[in-house]
């Protein structure tokens, strides 16, 4: 998986999916505009399975889950950030979408690097130089939601 690295803090939901597209709510539609106000080229660069790496407080701002859907629709497999804004993080968990908090990682991994994530062991490996980074394992309930594919699946299962 290739890393798209944005060495910036406070990347907000208005940048991830601008409000002018909130009259849509399907992943495939939203995907066309993912990250548009931050990086116009993003959708042409991203390939299925890629990851986004960013600084502190990723996803701050609006509660729009459209931000998660736009990224997932565009093929993004996971977001790794120094830290996440609360609602965005919650939305990721609820969608069974991988959001990994790993302090300092945005400073260390270069844009375009190939990386590997091992969720179970809590490890990110930068294949370009072999360096490894550790993150604390997901909370049990988040792991459970990841396994069943989100909160609603969990509820209906119960």
């Amino acid at each position: 998986m290739r890393a798209h690295v944005y060495k910036r803090n406070h990347i907000n939901t208005d940048e991830i999916i601008p409000a002018r597209y909130l009259n849509m709510d399907k992943e495939a539609e939203l995907a066309k505009f993912a990250m548009e106000d931050l990086d116009k080229e993003f959708v042409s660069k991203v390939e299925a399975g890629d990851v986004i790496i960013a600084g502190e407080n990723f996803g701050c701002g609006s509660s729009r889950e459209h931000a998660v859907w736009a990224l997932r629709g565009a093929g993004v497999k996971a977001v790794i950030a120094d830290s996440f804004a609360r609602i965005f993080y919650r939305n990721c968990i609820n969608n069974g979408f991988l959001a990994i908090e790993c302090q300092g990682v945005s400073e260390c991994i270069e844009n375009g690097s190939e990386i590997e994530i091992n969720v179970k062991d809590g490890k990110i490996k930068d294949l370009s130089n072999g360096k490894e980074y550790t993150f604390s394992a997901l909370p049990d309930f988040a792991q459970e939601m990841l396994d069943v594919g989100g909160l609603l699946n969990l509820i209906t299962k119960k």
Binding site: A19, I87, R90
Partner: protein, 423 residues
């Protein structure tokens, strides 16, 4: 050990004697607020999972506001879908056009919010309602779907930061300036995942509406919720609006706060948050350059209430909006619109060359009703000035109080509301 109001509310709704920060609880919800943008996906999710009922139609309130009156075909379809679904599941409280308004202004105004309750809304500024002593937080659409189906949600009990706001506010300085100053001090992630509790003689002296301006922006510091203990003013506000019981809770004297921040606002000046983050605040006297503005926007869930319009109108009396500047005034709810009309405020705005629209979120989020072009600057009473928030990614938004925005509209550049306006 003592507990904060937030911990008490969450404990009661989770069926526990006490909770502490970091505990994961399943809390029962007293109220769920839905608006146009985030509700349609929740409806689709419920349907996809074969869920045809909501847990309690009486605890659910629907208030389309972002794109009303319908701004285009897609939003019209979205809102129609919500209307049809509300009928299917028997939700009666649907604020249709003509009784509509911006959700966080409308919900308390119409008496839905009570002290001690747990409420969630699929909108980040749901933290506003903590001004009445409730635990209130923003959620996404999946959470909304789960909440609608089950009437409960998982929460991690947040640690609380206490803001003790003391001193005396100078003339021309308002609640908006206080919260912009707090966010400037702690940063846009200074209260990430945390509850922000506000108290002190300055908070006591504020009206309920002004308190809402403060809790509204808790999310702009990353907060999970903002809360102010209910007092006699709260009771007076609720008296004509609500029926039924509620419980007034206070934080214990020995409650454990993660941090206590004392803020003396006696020297506080009107604040302006520069692009592109709400924590980029400057005192108005620090602004040396003349920043010409293309648009002034007065409205939103932060500052679109009647008191805000009264303050703004003072600046337009006998003055005109500066040539080359557009001024848009949007009363946040229908009742506010009517009241402003009754008091002659709408005439004052229109005479001054501003325009007044029907209640809507409108341009606050760059939806409609005043989108700004690349290269343009807007001074706004709203709560966010992110890149592209009110239109083009090449535009700029400055946040300020209704007084500062109105004074700037008359002068055509960002101005100190304490100085005389107009030529």
């Amino acid at each position: 050990m003592g507990q904060t109001i937030t911990e008490k509310i969450l404990a009661r709704h989770a069926g526990k004697d006490s909770v502490k920060p970091g505990d994961l609880v399943n809390a029962k919800l007293d109220l769920i607020m839905c608006h146009d943008v985030t509700t349609t996906p929740a409806i689709d999710m419920l349907k996809a999972h074969g869920i045809t009922k909501v847990f309690d139609p009486e605890k659910i309130v629907i208030m389309p506001d972002h794109f009303v009156p319908n701004k285009d075909i897609k939003s019209a379809e979205m809102i129609r879908k919500i209307r049809l679904w509300a009928d299917e599941v028997g939700i009666e409280t649907f604020y249709e056009l003509g009784n509509h308004g911006v959700c966080h202004a409308l919900l308390p105004e119409q008496g839905h919010v009570k002290p001690g309750m747990t409420l969630v809304g699929a909108d980040s500024h749901t933290c506003t309602h903590g001004a009445l002593g409730a635990f209130s937080t923003g959620i996404g659409s999946t959470d909304l779907a789960a909440a609608l189906a089950t009437g409960e949600l998982w929460f991690k009990v947040p640690p609380t930061i206490l803001f003790n706001v003391t001193g005396t506010l100078k003339d021309g300085v308002y609640a908006k300036d206080i919260i912009l100053e707090i966010i400037r001090r702690i940063g846009v992630d200074g209260a990430r995942y945390k509850a922000m509790e506000f108290k002190g003689n300055v908070i006591d002296a504020l009206s309920i509406e002004a308190r809402m301006t403060i809790t509204n922006m808790a999310i702009e510091a990353g907060g999970k919720s903002g809360i102010i203990a209910a007092d006699t003013k709260t009771l007076a506000y609720l008296k004509d609006r609500t029926e039924g019981e509620y419980e007034i809770l206070q934080s214990d004297d020995d409650a454990e706060y993660e941090q206590i921040i004392d803020i003396d606002v006696s020297d506080l000046e009107p604040m302006v948050a520069f692009p592109h983050l709400p924590d980029n605040g400057k005192a108005v006297s620090e602004i040396k350059e003349k920043i010409k503005i293309d648009q002034a926007y007065i409205g939103s869930c932060t500052n679109g209430r009647i008191e805000d319009l009264r303050v703004a109108a003072e600046y337009f009396k006998g003055h005109k909006v500066a040539k080359g500047t557009r001024c848009i005034v949007i009363p946040a709810t229908t009742d506010i619109w009517k009241q402003a009309n009754k008091e002659g405020l709408l005439d004052i705005f229109m005479e001054a060359g501003a325009t007044v629209s029907s209640p809507t979120c409108g341009a606050c989020l760059g939806g409609h009703m005043g989108i700004i072009a690349g290269g343009e600057k807007c001074i706004s009473t709203t709560n966010r000035n992110f890149v592209g928030r009110m239109g083009s990614p090449d535009s700029e938004v400055y946040l300020a109080s209704p007084a500062t925005v109105a004074a700037s509209a008359v002068n055509g550049y960002i101005s100190d509301p304490r100085k005389a306006v107009g030529e």
